[in-house]
Amino acid sequence: MDAAPVSDAVRMASSPDILKVVGLTTEFRGRHSRIRANDDITIAIRRGSILGIVGESGSGKSVLCRSILRLLPPSANAHVEGTVTYDGRDLLSLSEEEMRRLRGTELRMIFQNPMTSLNPVWPIGDQITEGLRVFGGLSSRQARDRGIELLGRVGIPSPERRFDEYPFQWSGGMLQRAVIAMAMAGSPKLLFADEPTTALDVTIQDQILALLLELQERSGMTLVLVSHDLAVVAETCDRIAVMYAGRIVETAPTKSIFDAPHHPYTAGLLNSIPHLSEGASRLKPIPGQPPDLAKLGQGCPFMPRCSHASADCSTSAIRLNETGPDRFSACLHPERIVGAAP
């Protein structure tokens, strides 16, 4: 059968996954050490979904986003391997210029600290519209109009007046809205949000999350939300990926993870959340410390802290296995986890 070959791009565009990461490994090579901040990451992100990446500090979640977007600082001397397929192309093999073009339009990222994310001596409006003028070819007038519209969309009152104000005049919550407006300016298809609410007050956190969700729903873009806070991710995401020591240890739909985790680390995280409703009981932290990424050996990195571990956990090669419908886990023995259901 000689059907006309469908181009990769077309096939990709209609494929359910907007981004496919296969075997992504990021190593920081210093003079005396090599740190594997990301080890063999494989994950597919569905178009139009909201993915949550959860892990503690040092788990590699921020490095992952930056590795995908190739935003690692040059001074870090990072070596990235693997493939990251977006729109039929491998992001890691694109030229820097093509990558920049994508970053200016379709692939955006917002960061943790809104107070320092904006240039203090530029007016806010100019920063939001900078991309529109550079990539979108808009005139200053047109860009300004669009910028004011964006500010309005993210909930800034009196945007025409505030457009020319400076970052020091705004609060943290408002600044983060501005940052979001800046990210939305190019109508992105995929937005990474690295701990967007961590630096904000609790009440503001909810507002910002609600804003992100609303924008996602309206535009249909794919959202990747990175956080150390399971609660934040639980409320907002369709699917969760749990990271530990530079690897993904579990991926599953949100509800499934909360109903029955398939990895001891996930179980440990769930257990350490205080539950007010169940009466007073001792907090159950996970014993031990996260491992030194420079000294990882064979086997499961969580093993030293795991109460279900056995000898083969330290010798076998660890990879993500399918443990249920649409679920993956890196644990060799997920059946040992209490409450684990197939």
Binding site: R100, N119, P120, V134, M182
Partner: protein
């Protein structure tokens, strides 16, 4: 804005008082009789006494000070016995030249310092960075009078590319004549500028908003010029202003080496002639100049960095 200027001017008044007092005292703290010294001991006692009266030196000190201030505010800085002209005229003749030299030097030193600082900051901790920093240290240790002499001998006398004295005529004449002196001062100031600009660039490079700019897909060129340099330049304005005193000190030496008739060489000449009145006037003018430059720098800083305007 106007309020700020008014406030600063008010703040400056006690300093102006102190500064003018020091200038005033430069005549009166002289061991011995200033008039006698200035007339080289050739005048008769009657003439000296008459001059004492004429210059008001027989009046009580505080009264003399007030007269001094009063006259100064009207632009009268007294008359130089030694050089037989009004001090104000001597200063007026020289100030244009000195200011030209200062401006020319500032421009040249920025032209030298900016690329070197950028280069060093971009290649931090590697060979070029160390070379630039070492060169800065050596440059700082080089006496300006020697640099001036060297440039003069090589480019002025041997190669004959540049004249070696004087201010020249006309716009291009000035540029030509003043190039070597300005270059000397620029080489003298550049190490300090490089140091602080490099430091400032490194600070900005590590800032979050630069990472954000990269995430927006902006080209490295755009980021460097529109974001990094603009932000890094701000503290440098302060550095330039703070070092105006340094520049003026250098001007004294450079003007002498290149025989330029500016305020600096005037100062040295006056000291040599024991021309106390001129020294007094010059002391006042130098310090007022420094204060004005600092005020201008503060205003410029405010215009560029809006955060300061708020405070």
């Amino acid at each position: 804005m106007l309020q700020f200027i008014a406030g600063r001017l008010a703040q400056m008044i006690p300093v102006l008082f102190g500064v003018s007092l020091i200038a005033f005292l430069s005549v009166h703290l002289v061991p011995g009789d200033p008039i006698q010294i200035m007339t080289l001991g050739r005048a008769t006692p009657e003439t000296i006494a008459a001059m004492h009266a004429e210059y008001g030196l027989d009046q009580p000190l505080w009264q003399q000070y007030l007269t001094f201030i009063g006259n100064a505010l009207q632009g009268d800085l007294g008359r130089s016995i030694v050089q037989k002209t009004d001090v104000a005229k001597l200063i007026g003749d020289g100030i244009g030249v000195s200011l030209y030299l200062l401006a020319y030097s500032a421009v040249l030193s920025v032209l030298i310092a900016v690329p070197l600082a950028m280069w060093a900051a971009a290649r931090r901790d590697s060979a070029p960075d160390h070379v630039v920093r070492l060169a800065s240290m050596v440059g700082l240790a080089m006496p300006p009078f020697w640099i001036g002499l060297l440039l003069m001998v090589v480019f002025g006398l041997t190669l004959r590319w540049f004249p070696i004295r004087g201010f020249g005529e006309g716009f291009f004449g000035h540029l030509h004549h003043m190039f070597l002196p300005a270059l000397t001062m620029a080489l003298f100031l550049a190490p300090i500028l490089i140091q602080s600009l490099r430091s400032s660039i490194l600070d900005v490079l590590e800032a979050d908003y630069i990472e954000v700019a990269r995430s927006k897909g902006l080209s490295p060129r755009r980021i460097m010029f529109k974001h990094i340099l603009r932000n890094a330049a701000i503290p440098v304005i302060t550095v330039l202003a703070v070092n105006i005193g340094w520049l003026l000190s250098g001007a004294v030496i450079v003007e002498t080496v290149f025989t330029i008739h500016g305020l600096g060489s005037q100062l040295v000449r006056s000291v040599g002639f024991r021309d106390y009145f001129t020294v007094q006037g010059l002391a006042l003018v130098f310090s007022v100049l420094v204060m004005l430059v600092n005020l201008a720098a503060d205003l410029a800083y405010m215009a560029i960095d809006r955060r300061v305007a708020r405070a």
